[in-house]
Amino acid sequence: MKKRIGVYICQCGSNISDYVDVEKVNEIVAREQAVALSKITMFACADSAQNEIIEDIEKQKLDAIVVASCSPKLHLFTFRNVAQRAGLNPYNYIQVNLREQCSWAHSDNPPKATEKAIKLVMAGIERAKYSQALAPISIPSVNSVVVVGAGIGGMRAAIELADMGSEVFLLEREYFVGGRSSQWNELFTTNETGREVISRLYKTIMEYNNITLFTGAEIESKSGSVGNFDIKVKIKPRHVKPDCKLDWDKFKKAVEVCPVEFDDPFNFGLTKQKAIYKNFPSEFPEIPAIDVEHCTKCMKCSDICSDIDLNQKEEVLNLNAGSILLTTGASPYEPKEGEFGYKKIDNVITLQQLKRLIELRPDVLTYHNKKIQNVAFIYCVGSRQVDGENRYCSRYCCTSAIHTAIMLKENYKKINNFHFTRGVRTYGKQEILYNKSSKQGDIFFQSFDDSPTEVISVNGQTIVKIKDILTTDKELEVVADLVVLVTGMVPRQNNSINKILKVPIGRDKFYNEIHPKLRPVETVIDGVLIAGSCQAPLNITESVKSALSASSKVNSLISKGEIELEPTLAEIDDESCTWCDKCQSVCPYNAIDIKEEEGKSIAVIIESNCKGCGICLPVCPSNSIQLIGYSDVEIESMIDVLAC
């Protein structure tokens, strides 16, 4: 039992003190017997305040401290550190959440908030009284990473991690690397093509011995934990012999004879694809693939080309990794049928389709055999929806559409671009592109949320209508040869991997980081990091930045050979335990074993496996399990204080 507890009540500037009478809290808390001192601070987290706490611990010989400030999610580790520096065990530190769960939540009722604050601090003191000194558990860590998704972010992260000395397993669900970037031609702002960037990265990756690339690979299951994940990876057969020197003429013939034809996802359905394919000649890995989902195994191709092997089977690999980095990217929003005439009016396509179209028709821009002169871009399709479900801004689309419009004018003669925007968001240096497109004669319109742009078809003409606020709300119409829906980003539709990894998902359905500023690439699941557009819509540079950022976090996590873990474990009371196996059967981590002691069977906790979830606690018929930090005495004494 701790008897010299130091209590610090943080004003958090005014965040707490505006609603909670901190003086009163301090006054009441100070009367508590176990409290050796209690103080009010402006910012408990400030360096000076931290030093003051250290000084107090040392001079006043405090045996536990309570800081009543913000959510422990922000500063638990900050103050544990403070305790440690003062020579106090970090687990003798208790944080009370006065801000998120008191002052802010009850800013409508300051007297009640103060009352609640007093109880919360008292409960914290109770908890501190029973707190034990704990030492973190150190577990070994393998210096290897599984990077999921070989798009530009994943590839960049793989290279950097390999540079820093980690073993990298790069998994790609598709048969070819490059992700979305390989689908785009010139990229803003350098005008390098996506294909060039990807082949540059691919060639670099091939130079590393410590990067292993798996294509057609998906995670099937995960076990273990940070430092030591066991990951089962399912690898789809490619049906082309891996080390073959492929005869390209034969490959072309094989493609010709393939009877299967379906909408080509790489070209967003603008063209047809065969079951045996390569999206473009310089795609990597060099050898083609046969799409297992569509192939009918008619053997026609293998008759032509001996390098084709339709007998390849699905493989399952076991990978051992210290950490998992998700760079699974995003998908373009697929407009609903009829949304701005999509799939109802035949010359309405998406921006992504247009980008493919430019590449497919390098000389004259045609669509459905009609020459295109007037192109109408409709912005914010699937983003910033007032009633729809995607309320967020997709960030990259304004610039992407404008950049594409510039490309159109540069590549083809007599193109007129019309931009139906909801306010152009070419932030930062991208503003220059907006400038350039205006100067080249592109016409911009802007509508407000309450009267969106409309696309209608009249007598075979496709008309785009807008109430243009730039022209005093005048209603304007453009007859367009091609309507381009500037679609935003949505999370990957097929997100089977998260059924396994369980990374929290945010309001916008993208993966959620712990904190956008403090820990922007980490998730609440230890050892699982996120980067790139699986986290939020980002452009390429931003994706790469976050991927690289994640790389350095991964490296500092796993490269030291060991990872320190929370010592929050279950404990078995040997006396009362009479082995019944209930706890073992519910434990998701195989952390409970049976042992013989003094002639009876009792349960025992395997420390490196125990995650401290406490699932075993309620199932024990004899109440023989306590969770460290959440023992009956701690919880019940807190309940007593809160209830009175």
Partner: protein, 130 residues
């Protein structure tokens, strides 16, 4: 606000990674709920012991709310099931002690479910006041 003073006292068991962030978020967004709601956080909702719940009633709480991880639980897929079982078990124990089962409630609160949380709290308070 006189009626608040007599408002029922509620103990919430929240979970560190899922429902507690939602409760934090409610505060961050200044979504108000009754100040007689007190939270104790634990790692996982399937770790709540029946004796804690019963202790809470004995100590004077009018209601106990388990803000469960639901399917978001990072520990176990069986979390919902487990939490459900312990609630069922506790309900039985409550019946033995003549405690109205309405006083223990459980609902899954995801990590951004601040709005549902506030709604649950208001409804629970209303139900307990009757």
């Amino acid at each position: 606000m006189e009626e608040v003073i007599t408002a029922p006292k509620i103990l919430v068991f929240s979970t560190e990674k899922i429902s507690d962030p939602a409760i934090d978020l409610a505060g961050l967004l200044k979504k108000h709920y009754p100040p007689t709601v007190y939270t104790i956080n634990i790692p996982c909702s399937s770790a709540v012991k029946s004796r804690w719940v019963l202790h809470a009633f004995e100590a004077g709480f009018d209601g106990v709310f388990i803000a469960a991880d639901g399917t978001d639980c990072a520990y176990s897929e069986t979390c919902t099931e487990r939490t459900g079982e312990l609630v069922k078990k506790t309900h039985e124990l409550m019946k033995d002690r003549n405690i109205d089962p309405i006083r223990l409630k459980m609902a899954a609160i995801c990590s951004v479910c601040s709005e549902p949380f506030v709604k649950h709290m208001k409804n629970f308070v209303a139900a307990l006041s009757n």
